[in-house]
């Protein structure tokens, strides 16, 4: 059992606070992704779990045991580093077996477990090469092999795919997911890439400025963002945010356009409240070219400023309520700039955020 618990964990470098007292519980065998922009404290948090950074305040527990003062080697975790950190002077076999050798395993046992890990990751033909003779993806696999060979309580990944090109990143992402299905272990995975977060995670932890903004399953975080930060960070292209004011059960946007408050949010709004209407590009579509054509919605005529065809869909830049918004057109239809189209806003999927705090009105 390796549940990882963070209780009010704080990290400061002198006067500079990097992590401001976060609480998080990662269940046994759970795949948790810490995601956020650079400088949000996600890597620092991971390094505190690993024992590579001192913990300024709070508790870190692994498997129920407080590990604040334990060195990395006593935490029974393994880590995949952003730059792989393979030992350049050892071949793949010795890289994989290094941890076992340090632990004093017998050569036969080391050989058995190295072969086993190499089998899982398809590294058998590479065992006698040095890291310098490997491609980026192969190095990545060796780094993962080194992590699994010791059979640790938890894997920690620190932006493991950020050095790979886009195609390889997609492949390795799938391999990591498969690996987790094969080797059921607690995983803490740090990335700034929301696609990795969405695709890999059992639960996503969105961080910003040393605080946790939201914790939830990928679909929860995507469908019910608690803050405008989460709303714009998760999902690509990002959610459109339009400032407006509540008047009864109507949102009056900046230019006077009136949109009904979505049914499910009606009980959370008060008259005169300054809000931001959040609506994803996927939910603004030309009539007949959207995802959901039924359910409550509003229709508006908008002029296309720019269209980016992506094959089966096009990304459309237009203006709504005096502000540039992105919309999506599904289907292989060519759209010309200047074209005026009737767009449908799928309001049942729209969000409302308090303009002052940036928090979802549901959170009030």
């Amino acid at each position: 059992m390796a549940e990882i618990t963070l209780e009010k964990v704080v990290k400061r470098y002198g006067a500079l606070g990097v992590v401001h007292g976060i609480d998080l519980t990662i269940a046994h065998e759970e795949f948790v992704v810490l995601v956020g922009p650079s400088g949000c404290g996600k890597s620092t948090t991971l390094r505190m779990i690993a024992g590579l950074e001192d913990i300024t305040g709070g508790l870190v527990k692994i498997g129920g045991q407080v590990v604040n003062d334990l060195p990395p080697r006593k935490r029974n975790i393994s880590m995949v580093f952003q730059n792989y950190a393979l030992y350049p002077h050892m071949n793949v076999r010795d890289n994989l077996g290094f941890g076992l050798k340090i632990a004093g395993q017998s050569p036969a046992e080391i050989a058995r477990r190295v072969t086993e890990a190499a089998d899982i990751l398809g590294l058998v033909p590479l065992l006698d090469r040095t890291p310098a003779e490997l491609s980026g993806g192969q190095r990545q696999r060796v780094a993962m092999g080194r992590a699994i060979v010791r059979n640790p309580d938890a894997f920690l990944f620190d932006e493991p795919l950020s050095n790979l090109d886009a195609k390889l990143r997609g492949q390795m992402r799938a391999e990591i997911k498969k690996l987790h299905q094969k080797v059921r272990t607690t995983v803490v995975y740090v990335t700034h890439d929301q696609v990795e977060a969405m695709t890999l995670a059992d639960r996503i932890v969105v961080m910003k400025d040393g605080n946790i903004e939201q914790v939830g399953t990928p679909m929860e975080v995507f469908n019910h963002p608690l803050t405008t930060f989460v709303a714009t960070f998760i999902g690509s292209p990002p959610m459109n945010l339009l400032p407006g004011t509540i008047a009864g059960q109507i949102v009056r946007l900046a230019d006077g356009t009136e949109v009904p408050v979505p049914d499910r949010l009606q009980r959370f709004v008060r008259d005169g409240m300054a809000v931001q209407l959040g609506i994803r590009p996927d939910d603004i579509s030309p009539v007949g070219h959207g995802l959901s054509q039924d359910g409550p919605g509003a229709e508006v005529s908008l002029t296309v400023d720019l269209a980016e065809p992506l094959g089966m869909e096009s990304l459309i830049y237009t203006r709504l309520a005096g502000q540039e918004v992105q919309a999506k057109l599904y289907g292989p239809r060519i759209v010309a700039p200047g074209e005026v189209l009737a767009f449908r806003l799928a309001l049942d999927r729209a969000h409302l955020f308090d303009a002052a705090s940036g928090k979802s009105v549901r959170a009030h």
Partner: protein, 289 residues
């Protein structure tokens, strides 16, 4: 067409000029060395002949025999003791300078501590002071401490001369090794100490070897301070021993050159080693970027 011919011609001219300059510079550097080596195998009269004899007429090992005390002509110079002194002093001071250099270099490369910048600058500035400028104060201190004409006295001087350099060089090599490697080793089960010895030290090995050879050569070749601080066969080193060939009215050039060759050979061997290490470097294939 003409343009390419012209540019090819100018390229050719540039190459010739470059070769010529290189050759001229090499000549200036190599001729004295060559002269010393040649003279080591020639009799005094040929060395001193006017006009100079460039192509040696008679080559023999007589001069070496003389230096080592074989053969008919003997020079009463205790080359054996000098050689032993040089070896002991150079080796010991190099080993100490390396140990301090590894510790210091690692500290400067990996840790943050107070006055780090100032300390490093101070070490480098110390390096900028010419050794001979220190000779008088060192001599006075050493005579008070009874360290004049002892091997220990010279060892201490050479350690302090070499430490700034070894720290500087080794620091550079440790800086090239990504910190993630030591962290990975620690996660893999190493103590910090094990991570150092099993991962970082082997990777910095060539740098450490280079620093060691440089330190050894400095101590081996040093003359100015050694000539002040040594008196007898207890501590005199080979370069100082060279002076034994000068008498009041004569200089035994042949013997001196033979001994110079004896000094040069170990230095030459080590220089070849350092060259290999410096060029080899290390490919940091385990880490991208």
């Amino acid at each position: 067409m003409t343009v390419t011919v012209q540019s090819r011609a100018s390229k050719q001219a540039k190459r010739i000029a470059l070769w010529f300059t290189t050759f001229a510079l090499m000549l200036v550097m190599c001729v004295p060395g060559l002269w010393v080596v040649l003279s080591a195998f020639r009799p005094n009269r040929e060395i001193l002949a006017k006009p100079p004899v460039w192509i040696p007429q008679e080559l023999s090992l007589v001069n070496f025999g003389k230096v080592f005390g074989f053969g008919a002509e003997q020079v009463g110079i205790p080359v054996g003791s000098y050689f032993a002194n040089s070896l002991i002093i150079a080796l010991t001071s190099t080993i100490i300078a390396l140990i301090i250099g590894i510790g210091g270099g690692y500290a400067f490369a990996r840790y943050r501590f107070r006055f780090k910048g100032g300390l490093f600058l101070g070490l480098m500035l110390f390096r900028a002071v010419p050794g001979i400028a220190l000779s008088l104060p060192v001599f006075m201190m050493w005579s008070k401490l009874g360290l004049v004409d002892t091997k220990l006295g010279l060892i201490i001087v050479y350690v302090s001369l070499n430490v700034p350099f070894t720290i500087w060089l080794i620091d550079g090599f440790f800086r090239q090794i990504p910190q993630a490697l030591s962290e990975a080793a620690q996660v893999d089960g190493c103590t910090r100490w094990q991570a150092f010895w099993k991962i970082e030290f082997p990777l910095a090995k060539s740098g450490i070897a280079a620093a060691g050879v440089f330190a050894f050569l400095t101590s081996w070749n040093e003359f100015a301070l050694a000539s002040q601080l040594t008196r007898s066969t207890d501590s005199k080193t080979l370069p100082v021993g060279l002076l034994d060939f000068t008498a009041q009215f004569t200089i035994d050039w042949a013997g001196m050159c033979a001994m110079a060759v004896i000094i040069i050979i170990p230095a030459l061997i080590l220089t070849f080693i350092v060259q290999k290490h410096l060029i080899a470097g290390l490919t940091f294939g385990g880490v991208k970027g």
